[in-house]
Symmetry: none
């Protein structure tokens, strides 16, 4: 399975629904298995800084094959990956809100959400990841 | 009037419709009056290079307040603006497919389309610009 | 209300007055609501590094919709946003001296000051923010 | 003599006066002999792209020790410096509107103007250069 534009828009719509529910405008990005943008949307009044961060969260999740929040502890000062936030032209995000999109164990894309607290971002991104599950089952 | 996400998605949908009609997958971007991304979509099988180009066409149209194809002749070798394609961190696109979105004489955003020939890109972007006209009238 | 050049120059003049009062030469930048430069001034003998930092402080304050010193604690090692200083092409500044310029709750621009201690920078930037208040009241 | 902030602001004011006279909003930048920004102003409604271009014109004029329009012919395809617009991280501008600021034969800074046609930009920048002459004489 490949994340096409229709699926990407469905995932983003699901994130937007959750974002409205919690009252935090988000920027949401979906990338393919090559880390390249499929779709991105900035909700009205979302933070400008989140345009870059949401896309890079999605990219990072694909590029490191794990959710971005799992990078956080390993990239702290004194830890093995300290400095990795500077890698790849500064595209590696080391806080939560980016998730790989997987079919079984294969990475088929990534989703990144930015705009609220890290917890908000994770909550909303998770809504997108779960929406993918419905596609994969059905 | 401000280009919000709903309007941006309508303009992009209109461009996609035209792109399907001519059978050329496009990447489409809409930015606000500050040149910042509102929404971007890559149609299935569109060129990867068009992700960057479509966004920069939209940006350029806002930043120079004219369609990008109007920059083309002035920026050829021997012409007054030769070299401008390198300005602004390389974000200035000097071929067609980017249009400012205007309300009367005010720039309220920009749209950029990339994926086909310059003529294809202009044709599809124009569909988006015309769709805005319907919003402004109605 | 829009921050035009005349207002930007008034805010900068006010910051300069405060900077002279405390004897610290500053670089001062004002950006619009899209994060784009309106005016910037480097006082004689101010630090060269402050050219970049002051502009990015102003940008950051707009892009995150809060004063840059409020980013400081959340972006320390071990805190939720550690690594955000690298976002947006390295334009996110996570120490004090950048403030959003607001009309009621709307962001209409940003001001950034750099050249002294963080406390000095905040003190001087605040003088600019307060000057805007006088404009808004009329 | 060193271009200080007061002088830079005088030169910019003179350019602004000329720009208003011809009815074209400009962005104007003044840099020191090291090519570093002293002051920059974006007139209301000036092109966003001109923020980057005006500063880089001022930088280029210092960096190559000549007006930027004198670079134009040597940097055309087939000419000796073709490609130089890409040098220095893309900061070299090869069309008119940037001038070195000189005292006798010494470069003491640069001024760059962008916003209109190349002729407009040159006309307005020249007003700034001539204003410096008055300082040097008086």
């Amino acid at each position: 399975m490949v994340i096409n534009l229709d699926i990407a828009l469905e995932l983003i719509a699901e994130v937007r629904k959750k974002a409205k529910e919690i009252g935090v405008p988000m920027v949401i990005a979906v990338v393919d298995s090559g880390g390249n943008l499929i779709a991105q949307q900035r909700m009205d009044n979302a933070l400008l800084v989140s345009v870059d961060i949401s896309l890079n969260k999605a990219y990072t999740a694909v590029a490191v094959k794990m959710p971005t929040h799992e990078l956080a502890s390993a990239s702290q000062p004194g830890q093995p990956l300290f400095g990795i936030h500077n890698a790849d032209g500064g595209r590696v995000v080391i806080f939560g809100g980016g998730f790989p999109l997987k079919q079984q164990n294969e990475i088929i894309g990534g989703i990144g959400v930015s705009g609220g607290s890290v917890e908000d971002d994770i909550l909303c991104a998770t809504a997108g990841v779960e929406r993918l599950g419905a596609f994969l089952e059905g």
